[in-house]
Symmetry: D2
Subunit: 324 residues, 4 copies
């Protein structure tokens, strides 16, 4: 059994990790760390876990084999400085601390996009889990990047559920504001553009063009729907392109190409990503959907853990979707 | 023109008052008071008012004919003590300060349920606007109370939209929590029971029985749906009872009895209340719907103002419902 | 491996069964029957199953060990008459055909409320799966019925998600109608009252009083929230009552008593039922929540299957909840 | 008083027209035509109108001054052929029959985008009301078209509420499907592209580039949020551009330019359109919001009527928004 610790245990991604790991056949949760709730039952914060765990929040870890950092963006470095990990303890960071700046204290964090870096992750001790928007957009573009076909500007609109904004309540997550509402935020400047850029380059895109990305706030809780297009200068057909995508993801247990239009709830509460491809007006148009808390965060983190510990990549992740 | 001031100008009920009063043919808004936003445009807080008003928040009033207090429950007395009103200024309090305890500084507040106290309100200078749950439940029961037919325990479940909880964000108004969720709060103990009780007694119920009231939080923004039943010991039929209700509300411009089942959105964004009556199993069952921000708060407050100033009761209140 | 057939394969409960059974370690799905979609991929109807199954809809079964009937209420008898089952094939009916009228063609259907009839179900070959509203209400009342404490009228309001109304679109499931809306239907007359009545009597209630049940349509997709109360004449305290409930459900792997207030999403996408008990005004008030498609339908059906085949009751049912 | 007839009286746009016109100070509704509901009360179909009108559906009109055609796309020509209008009766068609093909039976329909064709509409007897997506997108681009600044490809994602899909229930308007869901439809091929194209050319765009338009289905009932961008080659600043937009719309009573980011509910249930402009990455990015049933359909139709009859453009259209 892999002994797991979770730091930042009261937030949304920690809760989702708990939901997954409590059912993982090869995992034992040794500690759920929270500076604010030490001694309190984990199931009092994550209320849906009533009857599933008697764990209490603790101040620190004991001797985990791996620690998941769910601390909020920019707090992972401080945590690691304050709390030296036991020797051999692997790290999976769900924050954005090491995605673009992977070096820290002699460690090098591998970017944890399993579909691109599967083999590197198997050998890695430190993994930076990708961002949720970034995951949905990168999966839409990886096969094109791998064939170095990204030459013209890329246009992206992607709409996210409210859980992406975290647990702390605020104006734009107030139900009275958000219900039946739509808005744009950080247009053209979202911070995930950086990890998308270096990842697509690493995948094989030698002259990556500008990516125009308009993120939107949706009035739903889980999921990201990304609509991505770029001029298509190649000669293969829509159908051949779909085949190329299927081939690219053939060994990836969670990414599927749909021949029909997709809608967000086809992946909600699962670790799957679905893609759909159409050609129109000289453009290739790719729609891409994930659950931001699962494939966009905690599910992908467990997928990384599985690879890092030599388990089956999908262990504990064949989750029943909610569909509705 | 009636010169109006609104105190507590940044909250939800103040915003709704502004939406209504900016279109009221006999009203001029002289001041919108906010201690936290003095000098800021009102339309920057209430964003939907862009293009409709250039008003700025002010620190205090000038010489209003009437002031609406939208200060939050329990803060009206302190406000009135701190800011002496000009002589002759009428008061309409949307908080709960004077509903059950109407005396203050030589003033007596009239309980502003227009359908019961229409004539008293016409003569009143000080009005305590009823609570939203209370309004929907009282309207369901007034005709029975008037005929002193409330003898057996009354059972009420009522479900409210999120705007009833105010603007300040919190755990139970977080979109991630509230969306697609249902919960109960303050069962059997909600504070509106007090004003419901004294109002039904004032209406004619001499032996008002216990009222069992379970309030619920709904996953919508506007409206209250109340389901009310009590044993029916009388001899008249369901159809006769509906007629009795129609007769009772014949002179009330906003209360209607539907012969068919009702659904909440039939009144949303309007000042109307709809009632529907059925007899089953020895019970009379009444469903009652209002928009909590309009008939349950700011619309009813304007209705009171209309009466207090001798205007047509429905002036400025024939609002287009949203229906969807 | 248990060979399973599903009849009525295109509907919501069949889809949910597929989501569960495709992950069940001791089950093999041999056929998904649909008269209208023979030869079509199951994953084209249940779109979230893309990548999870290559099954096609078939016209009939082969040699299942058990068949789940998901045919719509009132259609199970006709199906069984038209399609004689192979010898030894067990039946789990998700319709309402055999809940109140258990005899058919020499077979006797056991009422499949596992928490009451666990031992009978273990020996049963034919099980009538309970209704969704009925499940939530019966679980709220079973411990009181078992102690014969139900003496005074019972008051129930319960609000259901849209999936309870099935897949066929109609006026009250149109998004434009239902979103942010609330309504009542079949007040005091809902058909589940019958199975609730005979079940509580079977559990030990010798003088079951009238149950007043107001069902409501909620603006969410999954789940039932039931609020149940009855006069409490006994001498034990609220805390002792909660303990009694915990004791009653101690051997039931999916029913839990929460010491804190509950909200619907604590059980959505899981097979759990949560209960919460408070004493007020001389009443015992019980709130009860389930996912109508899981514990209220397909999950409970699999729970029954597990018992009927001697498996662990929770096999394949430790589902990750969606929480948001 | 202008005598109005509404054809196709049971649909969503007819209902919204009724909500508006029943409050219009210079209008009298003479007939609401429905072939399927003759003799039935209008308020039984449009349930929120209970207490507001006693009108019955009729088979045909009497002697209207203007008829609004709410018949569904492609049915207006047949209606006009079957039912000859009285002499002098003006026509406002809410369908798409005459938007791109304005000639019929000796009549020429004027395209009813008031912000562009105000003066023509004042003189017109026949008006083709613009489409909802088209309205939101055209308003975002008109000032650029007028200055002939549209030179580079235009990129549009726009997300619509469910009422845009009409009253007839179907798979993608089923609440169980649509709630908390997002999907794309008709990407790059939506039929509104045609009217957008000829309108922008008419406004002054001499070399209108390709418009790439991805329409999305949102999980809300009312509103369109459009996000539009194109390469910006000019020399003026973001602030100057916003001023240019304000100037362009200075005489339009319903279009406003917001200096801050906008969210959809700022216009819901109003006839307003809000625009917001930012410059990023060499692009001009315009967000544009309307209520699809009001400014995108029935409100704009009344705005056209006001112009056609010489009334104030905003008569009857200063609607209280719902904001929440």
């Amino acid at each position: 059994m892999i002994r797991v610790s979770i730091a930042g245990g009261t937030g949304y991604t920690a809760g989702e990790l708990l939901r997954i790991l409590l059912r993982h056949p090869q995992v034992e949760i040794e500690s759920v760390i929270s500076s604010t709730s030490v001694g309190m039952p984990v199931a009092e914060t994550h209320r849906d876990l009533l009857g599933e765990t008697g764990l209490l929040f603790s101040e620190t870890f004991d001797r985990p084999d791996v620690i998941f950092l769910c601390l909020g963006h920019g707090r992972s470095r401080a945590f690691l400085q304050e709390k030296p990990l036991p020797e051999g303890c692997k790290i999976i960071d769900l924050g954005n601390d090491f995605r673009n700046d992977p070096h820290f204290d002699g460690k090098a964090f591998c970017f944890g996009l399993c579909e691109l870096n599967r083999e590197k992750i198997r050998k890695a001790d430190y993994v930076a889990n990708p961002g949720c928007f970034a995951t949905s957009i990168m999966l839409a573009l990886l096969p094109l990047a791998a064939d170095d076909l990204l030459k013209e500007e890329i246009h992206v609109h992607a709409i996210t559920g409210s859980t992406g904004a975290g647990k702390k309540p605020g104006e734009t997550t107030h139900f009275s504001y958000r219900d039946n509402n739509i808005s744009v935020y950080k247009p053209f400047t979202h911070q995930h553009l950086e990890e998308i850029g270096h990842t697509l380059r690493a995948a094989g895109s030698n002259h990556l063009p500008q990516i125009n990305f308009v993120p939107m706030r949706g009035d739903f809780t889980r999921g990201i729907f990304a609509s991505v297009y770029t001029k298509w200068l190649g000669s293969i057909s829509e159908k051949e392109m779909a085949e190329r995508y299927k081939e690219y993801y053939a060994s990836s247990p969670f990414v599927f190409v749909s021949d029909k239009s997709i809608s967000l709830k086809e992946v909600v509460n699962s670790n799957k990503a679905l893609l759909h491809i159409e050609f129109h007006n000289g453009y290739i148009h790719i729609t891409s959907i994930i659950d931001n808390l699962v494939k966009g965060a905690s599910g992908q983190a467990v997928q990384n853990m599985n690879l890092m510990f030599g388990l089956e990549e999908s262990a504990g992740l064949k989750l029943k979707g909610s569909a509705f």
